[in-house]
Symmetry: C2
Subunit: 336 residues, 2 copies
DNA sequence: CAGCGCAATCGAAGCGCTTCGACACACGTA
DNA sequence: TACGTGTGTCGAAGCGCTTCGATTGCGCTG
């Protein structure tokens, strides 16, 4: 079943069928109808390889998903799914690359023209893949922001502002001593952008407001979370506000706090940076800055499409954080 | 950079370069070396589309990942990653399809020759995609086993045997009244194969051994798990053994049980069906039947490659369960 | 020493699509 | 009436690779 079969069936030339499909030249309504009907009747589907060869476009984009220690898989997949969905909305498919493939994988899919562009997740401050991406003639978009963004296209939540917003919210409620329950140590060690920027915003805002602030990296295992919470509240009994930037830690943290005899939010206020569903399902529902995975994924695809269309999108797009008050943060308890 | 550039550089014809690359005809060692060196020097990478067009092989396989209510994302991704890794070992890439794309997606990627074959995860007993897969001329492999397997190729852990093994282990330890903490209700409602088969094996073995058995579907939210455990132990105080087939429920369940004043394994034995890492990291480490995601993913790719090579693999491959005793199951406590 | 078979290589014909220039025709204008 | 000016369609040339004979030259055998 080829384009020439459709052409014959509709009584036109193959090029006309092609133009009906691509819309790149005007076709009379009557012809268009006839061609579309033939396509329908014959069940014609163009051959992707032939199309890619002739047009120099594969209509596929590559997505590098970060499956490595410390990352929270469900959130990573929220990003991935929204990339796939948005790509499909724009007639593109998604080729799945794992972090493990590394830069060789990027060179391969670009060099063989398998893909039209690349989206990379979980970008580090000084990411090893960036020189490779720069050397490629293919456009790419980073989800996350490295130190040096010259000539790149990056999209992310503004984690610096998110960290600040959490501190500001707690400070406004009167809290004077707070802590950040952060990502696992491995995430900071490899200098993942979003984690580092959250800490920066957290500390900067606290400094500016004269709030005493501690940062506690925290592994995801419930036992580790309990230990971290226990240690923190023992060593800094004056802490009345917590910012949590660690999805899997949320539930065990709330339990641990309760186990230590503190009520949320009566004795201890908690503000999370997490996807909305996670925040609303916790008990109590968490005051939180939402992690808009869907929007970030969609925007990443849009930006990539812009680059494919030769528009020059901005180097860095940071989505402003939105803090939604729920039931986990309240005014600082009166001193005993 | 085309194959003819390489050919010129090496002083041979394009077809010779092609044969060096594919190995489909014998080439003298001297020529081969010369060609490979030219490829290296020039950094030649063949054009995927051109290759797909001429050879009728895209060297890409499609993977349908199940991101829908009730599934545990980290485990699903273990499967997906092992599929990607195994595919890369065999010179194939992976196109990511979401469940949401449905049967249309299958028809599209097959019809346009984007992919050489399809792997489908999370198969239901009467899966709507099966008629579509049957109608395709492309080979496919199911991870999971539907009711009717005629002409299909399926791979999975033998969940029936896994359910039986758990019951047998508990029965051997003297337990006479047990319960299965199962998947979320939605998983049973859509009749997901692996969940249903586990229940079947669980009930059959219990029946044969005269053990009293209850099945408790269970949502993943910690609160739901606690409620389910509380209800169960109130209504059936004689239960001394639990089989858990629900990854996210493991930790909250252990906590809930403790909260109800029961020690594991002194008062209550627990056997899980879960990935090894999850079982070993729990406290106490769980006696469990491991969920060999890596092997299943690898085998799925192997089976698909066999079909691409026109070998006729078996319709159903069930991996035998392996129960590893750890610290969560012990002899039934003496009656009070 | 003719003849054969085999190994190594080449040339050319596609694979199915897009795209560019050419062309035919209808229409409005001078 | 002749002439631009569009509009809609066609034909043919590639896109870069694989693959199928065909061809060459070699070492053997009888």
């Amino acid at each position: 079943m080829r384009i020439s079969d459709v052409a014959r069936h509709a009584g036109v030339s193959p090029s006309t069928v092609s133009y009906v499909l691509s819309g790149k030249r005007s076709i009379s309504p009557a012809t268009r109808e006839r061609v579309l009907e033939s396509i329908e009747v014959l069940g014609y589907q163009p051959h992707a390889g032939a199309r890619a060869l002739a047009s120099n476009r594969s209509n596929v984009i590559a997505l590098v998903v970060p499956l490595r220690p410390g990352i929270h898989v469900p959130v990573a997949m929220q990003f991935a799914v929204s990339v796939v969905t948005s790509a499909r909305d724009r007639e593109h498919d998604v080729l799945l690359l794992t972090q493990a493939e590394g830069e060789g994988g990027l060179r391969r899919v670009a060099g063989t023209s398998m893909v039209d562009g690349i989206i990379v997740m979980d970008v580090e401050v000084d990411d090893a893949r960036i020189p490779t991406l720069r050397s490629l003639s293919h456009p790419s978009v980073l989800i996350g922001v490295p130190a040096e963004t010259e000539g790149l296209t990056c999209i992310d939540l503004d984690f610096d502002a998110a960290g600040r917003a959490c501190v500001a919210h707690l400070a406004d409620l009167g809290h004077r001593e707070i802590a950040l329950i952060g990502q696992p140590p491995s995430v900071y060690e490899r200098r993942t952008g979003f984690a580092e920027r959250t800490v920066a915003g957290f500390e900067a805002e606290a400094g500016e407001r004269g709030v005493e602030a501690t940062v506690v990296p925290c592994d995801a295992a419930p036992a580790a979370v309990t230990a971290a919470a226990t240690d923190l509240l023992r060593e800094r009994p004056g802490v009345t506000g917590l910012v949590v930037h660690n999805e899997p830690a949320v539930t065990p943290l709330l339990e641990a706090v309760r186990g230590l005899g503190r009520e949320v939010p009566a004795d201890l206020s908690v503000v999370a940076i997490a996807p909305d569903d996670l925040a609303t399902e916790a008990s109590p529902p968490l005051t939180s800055v939402s992690l808009p995975a869907e929007e970030v994924g969609g925007r990443a695809v849009s930006l990539l499409m812009d680059k494919l269309d030769d528009l020059g999108p901005p180097e860095v797009t940071l989505l402003p954080p939105r803090l939604v008050p729920r039931a986990s943060a309240a005014a600082r308890p009166a001193l005993p």
